[in-house]
Amino acid sequence: MLSSPLPADAAPPCSGRLVTVRGLSFRRGERVIFRDVDLDIPRGKVTAIMGPSGTGKTTLLRLLGGQLRPDAGLIEVDGLRVPELGRRELYQLRQRMGMLFQSGALFTDLSVFDNVAFPLREHTRLSEKLIRTLVLMKLEAVGLRGARALMPAELSGGMARRVALARAIALDPMMVLYDEPFAGQDPISMGVLTQLIRTLNDALCLTSVIVSHDVKETAAIADYLYLLSDGQIVEHGTPGELGRSASPWVDQFMHARPDGPMSFHYPAPPYETELLLREPA
């Protein structure tokens, strides 16, 4: 068992523990995605979950949001056991969570403005005037107030992600889940996004969970890191601690070395035997 990295005392909204995961196991068909995973996510902090592609990081976010059910284990968000919630309670919980999908997942038939207004119109009975004010505030926060009339197809990848971020925080959630926010971004929008995630987190007293494999950017803004490999947490700590870790695996991942404990090669029979093998007649 892992010791909890934080004291469990519940206290003011901006400290304490928001998410508790214990003994989480999840498999998809034959493939084991998670094996007995424990992790804690503190309130008001930026927590990153990192690992190589294909380790089920996105699956973890979906488990937190209740879109998937674990095979075993406890997932608790703000004191609610997510897998045991009924539909109504789950939807109530999700209104307090924002999620930024890897692709942005903007509604392609709605303008930027209507995309950000979508959760407000679905879940509140605010007047159009008030909705307009709120949407413009959220768009201002991501620097795209001027782009409100554009359609999603007219946005660059980085802009689409910022609009999606404005939409994710439209209902002032307590927690935002980021699925690979930096993947496929140019250096400038990457910088803009890291900046945004950090400022929004601190200004709105959000809890941010970032799932990513971009070590440098993630380590730059995260308060706490979990390293995931092969369905298990291999290491956790602050970015500074992990940077100095003695573990060869952590060293390989954090410093992006091409070979190490994580082999460069996909498992295969020995090279020589396969090359010398005669073609089957």
Partner: protein
């Protein structure tokens, strides 16, 4: 290595589980319809997409089919001196079979495939998942309005197709070929029964086809693999499956309604 029997068995089992999923899908869809009472605007938007936008193809096709029926019917009946029955022939063919069936097939090609592609792409681009994460049920917000709109649109389109077809037949027969206009309508009215022909043909058949076409289109989109090949396959699948279901269903319905057994 799997033998042909195993492959057949797997195929049958796959079909059966898909059928089970399709039924659950329909149940959830019907359950989500209540949501539309609060948001009628969503229904109007979809009625525009599947109904209004399908009108041109339905009007043009109906007119041509009716005109062809008029020409062919005339060519055959004129030998027997029975051209006064032309109205009956045109009207009964359209009302009992061609109206409902052709409308459903055209609808599958024009609107059904579009529904599948739209839902499939919304799934592939994570729009449905993000909606769920925003605590909005895609069944209520996205699928139910499309389903109900299609369910309303197909019978209306069928009636329009049939009416336009009869007018097309009238134009060819009476205006162009000189069949007596009074006989055209009178014979038709004497033979076409309101409940037995129009009720069974245009109304009941079109409602059944509306259910099939929209159910298949939305289910295929919802089940599509979230890739571009997956969506294109699902679109093709919608047109093929709807056509087969409509033609097979039409045979069953015709046997039940007008058949001798």
């Amino acid at each position: 290595m799997t033998g042909p029997l195993e492959r057949l068995g797997r195929w049958v089992l796959d079909r059966l589980t898909a059928l089970g999923r399709a039924n659950l899908f329909l149940l959830r869809l019907v359950g989500a319809l209540a949501f539309l009472v609060r948001r009628p605007g969503l229904l109007v938007r979809q009625l525009y997409a599947v109904g209004v936008l399908s009108l041109p193809i339905i009007l043009v096709s109906g007119l041509f089919v009716g005109m062809v029926l008029g020409l062919q019917g005339y060519a055959n009946l004129v030998d027997f001196g029975a051209t006064s029955s032309l109205g009956t022939v045109v009207a009964l063919s359209l009302i009992r079979e061609l109206g409902p069936v052709l409308t459903a097939l055209l609808y599958a090609g024009r609107a059904g495939s579009a529904l599948t592609a739209e839902i499939g792409l919304m799934k592939a681009t994570e729009q449905l998942a993000s909606m769920q994460m925003m605590a909005v049920d895609p069944f209520a917000r996205v699928l139910a309005p499309r389903f109900l709109a299609g369910f309303i649109a197909v019978p209306l389109l069928t009636a329009i197709f049939t009416a336009v077809g009869i007018l097309g037949g009238y134009w060819v027969a009476v205006v162009q070929l000189g069949v007596d206009g009074g006989a055209f309508w009178a014979q038709m009215q004497a033979r076409v029964l309101l409940w037995e022909d129009i009720g069974n043909g245009v109304a009941v058949k079109s409602v059944v086809f509306a259910l099939l076409a929209n159910w298949i289109a939305l289910f295929e989109g919802y089940e599509a693999h979230p890739t571009s090949e997956g969506v294109s396959l699902a679109t093709t699948q919608t047109v093929v499956a709807t056509s087969l279901a409509v033609l097979g269903g039409d045979f069953l319905l015709t046997a039940l309604m007008f058949g001798a057994w």
